[in-house]
């Protein structure tokens, strides 16, 4: 369509010009209504009564406590899940054993469990009425309605992210480089840090990025286990719900703006990784 001389000779492997225009128009229209408008609404609603008013709501001690808790929970759960992802990818891609496919299905399990059901599982496991929970409460370390519960629920929800990104990448890369290092006498950790890590670093960063975005934004599972105690177990998404239900719209949307900005930063970094290091990411994340 950019070559005027060829305009009348449409290649057999494309659609007619009018059809392309309709499809592109349809896509842009629907995405505007479904994606872009809600995103803009977050910023617009937050700024309804001016920037100063919006920023004022963030100085509230409960709001600051929620921001601190969200950062703390992500700082604990994301590195632990990254460690799990690396270990699982190593065990699955560097060795041959029976039941790998079943193991991958188990790792993927949290993706098909409702966040609310995940929260319920932890309430049953660690709640004051359960054997483990009763003992923990007696020992002065409650999990449910406390920060540890928020951490484990977040870990459950974000559990597959890093493993899912690393396993296909490491399968594709094979074992030849590690085996070469092994025959040259390198130790296990040396092989890992000098051979494997440089090969998987961008895929690892990609997985960590998605894991972190989900960890900071998790709502359903955390809502169930945290008890939503203001200033203690309320994360940013829970604070948004409470403020919204109290008709403190500007405060709710200001808090939401912070998380929307996090989402935008995540998407930008993710796209940058996809464009720059496409060959080092899992096939499903290259476009």
């Amino acid at each position: 369509m950019t070559h005027p001389t060829l305009a009348t000779f449409r290649p057999a492997t494309t659609e007619p010009d009018w059809m392309r225009r309709i499809l592109i128009g349809l896509v842009i229209a629907l995405l505007t209504v479904l994606l872009f408008a809600p995103l803009i609404a977050v910023f617009a609603e937050a700024g309804k009564r001016g920037l100063a008013f919006a920023l004022q709501s963030l100085t509230d001690p409960d709001a600051q406590s929620a921001i601190r808790l969200t950062l703390t929970v992500a700082a604990i759960s994301v590195p632990l899940n990254a460690a799990f992802g690396i270990a699982a990818a190593w065990a699955i891609t560097k060795f041959d054993w029976r039941g790998k496919a079943f193991m991958i299905t188990l790792i993927d399990l949290p993706f098909s469990v409702s966040p609310v059901v995940a929260g319920l599982c932890f309430v049953l496991l660690f709640g004051a009425n359960s054997a483990i929970g009763g003992w923990l409460v007696a020992a002065g370390h409650p999990v449910i309605f406390a920060v540890p519960g928020v951490v484990v629920a977040t870990m459950f929800i974000t559990f597959p992210f890093v493993a899912r990104e690393l396993i296909p990448v490491m399968t594709e890369q094979g074992r030849a480089e590690e085996e070469a290092a092994l025959t040259l006498g390198a130790s296990g950790w040396r092989i890992f840090f000098t051979v494997t890590v440089p090969n998987i670093r961008w895929a690892l960063l990609y997985g960590v990025l998605l894991c972190n975005a989900r960890a900071m934004g998790e709502f359903g599972a955390v809502a169930v286990v945290s008890g939503k105690i203001r200033g203690q177990t309320s994360t940013m998404p829970l604070m948004i719900e409470m403020l919204y239900n109290e008709y403190l719209s500007v405060a709710a949307f200001t808090m939401a703006t912070l998380l929307a900005l996090l989402a935008l930063v995540t998407l930008t970094l993710k796209s940058a990784l996809e464009w720059r290091f496409a060959d080092q990411l899992a096939a499903s994340s290259r476009h």
């Binding site: 057999a12 629907l30 994606l35 809600p38 799990f84 319920l120 049953l124 092989i191 998404p237 939401a256």
Partner: protein
């Protein structure tokens, strides 16, 4: 003998550590919690679970969750296919931004999506007012609102499973089809679509599994009226708040059973598509 061994011998280091960390963390974070839920279910008993699930309010919530998820996933199946096609085959201004924006529902926390969609589609919101005044259509606080939220949440799945497959299509197949006299529409329908079907179904199943359990983005826009706009995950939360743990467990197990069947279906689809495409 070797075929019976759990693991083939390998000189590669780190087996014990990596396998140990994997199994330990998987057990602690995923298997033990889910196991507790299943044990509790076994303790309650199948008859009692059926008794709890087979009440008007629970039936309505489960039916709503699955109906709305199916409608949203089918919408995303069609829209996602068009979107993936447009993104791979056409060139237009702003394409890269749109490609990056597809993943917004993955990156944007569900609570943020929930209040944002409500703000827009509420009767006094930007789109809600237009729909209300011109068509008399209420979106927020009705089942229509639940559809919108679930369409938002499930949007990336079909696009992201189909997009790589479209990129891999060999144009020569389309040329061959055209040389043999097929119209463009016929080529799309008879040649391209069958190649995309396995990926489309996978994307559909993923979107469905996600939508059925979705909570955060739905509860703000749904209105949450029992028997009308109360989704199953919300009913679990309500039961928990009433300390009716058995009630919560029964609904959760009903949902989990259906989700697990979906996971199984995804795996079967993948096996089937691999066989059909003749790949290893």
């Amino acid at each position: 003998m070797r075929a019976l061994a759990f693991r083939s011998p390998s000189p590669m280091p780190g087996w014990g550590l990596s396998f140990g960390v994997m199994v330990l963390m998987l057990s602690l974070i995923v298997l033990m919690p889910i196991g507790t839920l299943l044990l509790r279910g076994a303790h309650i008993g199948l008859g009692e679970i059926w008794h709890i699930v087979n009440t008007e309010r629970v039936r309505a919530a489960l039916a709503l969750s699955f109906r709305a998820s199916l409608i949203a996933a089918l919408f995303n199946l069609v829209f996602g296919l068009i979107l993936a096609w447009v993104l791979v085959r056409y060139h237009f201004w702003g394409k890269r931004i749109i490609d990056a924006a597809i993943d917004l529902p993955f990156a944007l926390p569900t609570a943020v999506a929930g209040i944002a969609l409500t703000a827009i589609y509420a009767p006094n919101g930007a789109f809600g007012a237009i729909l209300m005044n011109t068509f008399g259509l209420r979106v927020a606080y009705t089942e229509l609102g639940i559809w919108i939220a679930l369409i938002f949440v499930g949007l990336p799945f079909v696009v992201r499973t189909v997009q790589p497959v479209i990129e891999e299509i060999d144009r020569e197949i389309e040329e061959a089809s055209a040389t043999l006299g097929a119209s463009r529409m016929r080529t799309l329908r008879k040649v391209i679509l069958p190649m995309l079907t396995p990926a489309l179904l996978t994307g559909l199943a993923l979107a469905l599994a996600r939508s059925v359990g979705e909570y955060g983005s739905v509860i703000f826009i749904a209105g949450n009226l029992p028997l009308q706009t109360e989704i199953a995950p919300l009913l679990i939360v309500i039961r928990l708040e009433e300390f009716d743990y058995n009630g919560a467990v029964a609904i959760a197990l009903a949902m989990l059973a259906i989700s697990f069947l979906m996971l199984l279906a995804i795996n079967l689809i993948q096996v089937w598509s691999r066989r059909r495409m003749g790949a290893a």
